[in-house]
């Protein structure tokens, strides 16, 4: 059934349809609409789940680690400061191999206070052992949340479903809300592989000396590798029921492209418009949207970008001292090819600044005209700064 829905509500609908058992969350703008809608669902009986209104994000994730270890399906949502506060427990969730799903609304980190979109919060957690899926539309948010449970429960690792603050979380779009039967056809009931059980008493997460710790970590890496090989299978199953697929990356006219723009999140939508305009003008330009960031789909990236002359990666994030984070990953994926494109790294739109068609045009022009590709990231649209004296 099609409805005009906020991105946040698309998340909530998916959580309801996924028959989640325990939810635990702490409010932070711009995540609040997700948990408010879920509170409504729990209150009016549309979702039969326990909602733990804990006293912090740290406790929200800790509670879910407890619940998930006891063998039930779990969900939380957060953003920015809240995600940063959870950091220690992100490692606990993946180390304990728990299929927890989180909606993470990309928001800038303080100081100064800024509630607008910026990917540095989630990307700063890239090494925590969580899958990361970046979304572009309300429909994709709903679909990806369902897919997240499938992936999480298949490989026993947690997942972040990531959406841009406001541009996605608070934007209304037509979204097809599937029926419960459809969802059940794609996502079976959760069958935990291990759980706390008095009939089979085991110790979880205990002391792991050097003789066992490394194997445990290798298992996590293998599980991540498995995500890449199972992603297609997951999407086949999803496609049978829903007739849609997204791909871990989505290439648009990349085959004959000389220059390829690389984007994630809602910047992709604006880039689609630019790409079409430029093609109409006769430019051989392609667009690659990266949806799956962890595990990083390096093979697909190599296959699609390897033949281009130039690549322009647009990052709404920064690893200070290193630059745009998607650009680093793309460069790393390409570095062992004997012939490879020049990879330009652009930083744009931090703290919710608009990345307009004009900004993207400038990026394209610069990439096309520039013969020497700088190692450093190029910051787009910086204002002149007047320092206090």
């Amino acid at each position: 059934m099609k409805q005009v829905l906020e991105g946040s509500h698309a998340v909530a609908e998916a959580v309801r349809l996924a028959r989640v058992n325990v939810i635990s969350a702490y409010p932070i703008t711009p995540q609040t609409h997700i948990v408010e809608r879920l509170s409504d669902f729990c209150a009016d009986g549309r979702l039969d789940a326990r909602f733990l209104r804990v006293e912090s994000e740290h406790s929200a994730l800790a509670a879910l680690i407890g619940a998930s270890s006891t063998g039930v399906r779990t969900f939380t949502a957060t953003s920015s400061q809240g995600l940063a506060l959870m950091h220690e427990l992100l490692h606990w969730a993946s180390g304990a191999r728990l299929p927890i799903v989180m909606a993470e609304v990309n928001r800038a980190l303080a100081p100064g206070w800024n509630i607008w979109t910026d990917q540095t919060d989630s990307l700063a957690q890239r090494d925590t052992g969580w899958m990361q899926l970046y979304c572009e539309t309300g429909q994709e948010v709903l679909d990806t949340t369902l897919q997240a449970y499938w992936l999480a429960e298949t490989v026993n690792l947690p997942v972040m479903v990531i959406l841009d603050a406001f541009f996605l979380s608070h934007t209304y779009e037509p979204v097809d809300i599937p029926s419960q039967e459809q969802v059940n056809g794609f996502l079976p009931d959760y069958q935990p592989r291990f759980q706390l059980d008095t009939r089979n008493p085991c110790a979880f997460n205990q002391l792991a000396p050097p003789n066992v710790y490394m194997e445990m970590r290798h298992n996590i890496q293998q599980a991540m590798d498995q995500v890449l090989s199972r992603f297609g299978q997951m999407e086949d199953g999803f496609g049978v029921v829903f007739g849609r697929r997204y791909g871990e990356v989505e290439p648009l006219q990349c085959d004959d492209a000389q220059i390829i723009l690389v984007t994630s999140g809602t910047i992709t939508s604006t880039s689609r418009a630019l790409q079409q305009q430029l093609r109409a003008d006769g430019e051989r330009v392609g667009l690659l949207k990266i949806k799956l960031f962890r595990p990083f789909p390096a093979d697909a990236v190599r296959r699609i970008l390897g033949g281009a002359q130039k690549v322009a990666v647009i990052d709404r994030n920064c690893s200070f001292g290193a630059g745009g984070i998607f650009a680093q990953e793309v460069r790393a994926a390409l570095c062992n090819l004997s012939a490879r494109p020049l990879v330009f790294s652009y930083i744009a739109g931090l703290g919710g600044r608009d990345v307009t068609l004009d900004v993207l045009k400038l990026i394209y022009r610069h990439t096309k005209d520039c013969e020497h590709c700088p190692d450093d990231s190029i910051w787009m649209g910086l204002h002149e700064v007047h320092h206090a004296t």
């Binding site: 006293e55 740290h58 407890g66 270890s69």
Partner: protein
Amino acid sequence: MQLNVPDRDYMHSGHVGCPGCGAAVAMKFVLRALGNKTIMVLPACCWSIIAGPYPQSTLQIPLIHSAFETGGAMASGVRAALDVKGDKETCVVTWAGDGGTFDIGFQALSGAVERNEDFIYFCYDNEAYMNTGIQRSSSTPYGAWTTTTPGRDWKRMRKKNIVEALVAHRIPYAATASIAYPEDLLRKVSKARSIKGSRFLHIFASCPTGWRIPSEISVKIARMAVQTNIFPLYEVENGRKYTINFMPKGYLVKEYFKLQGRFKHLSESDLDQIQAMVEEDWELLLRKAGVPLQG
């Protein structure tokens, strides 16, 4: 002496605690009263080690080790999942040290108790961060040496009164207990197990290594803490009804202090001052319990 307590143990013989470890004694007794329909949440503390490395376990109940500050939160999640599964029989407990309770885990504990989560929180109190090498906590008593309160910088702040902090939450049941009084301890565990909502047990658990005492006087020291009124045995129901379980003869605190290396730097006048503090705390407790002050 024959103890009138259940004798089925849910701890295997053999653990890796120090000789005379009060925390190990406390666990043994508590599990006897809880029985095996119990799931335990164990934040970082000495017991993270005592329970044994992968793939072994000292305990015969399901155990989930957890981040240091998450005792209250993780137990809330385990409870929620059991509720969803319709398991009303299993008792969820947290087992944490004083650091994990008074300090870094206090927020999560306060949150869980404010929500009146249905679980028992056990704090075994050895009055410092022992796992990391005897650093001060807010449970470390006035006068104590620790590795972060060395030399003339011995701790000059009083021990936080954790039971009163929990009582301020109107917690259904809060009690103190000691490894030196096992019958009282087991009765309190059984009582706690029969009550719904949040329950808190504060167990005095001596630590030979950290307190600089010979291991064979571990239990004696715990008994003296009660007999000197340093660690009174009492319980509080619904944040209002106080019951003092043991009326001591009023031994002088210096007898207790003089046996422990961690207090050896204290002068007679320091000890007099501590005696006055202990008396003040005791009178406050008597007043709350409605017991007339003597003499």
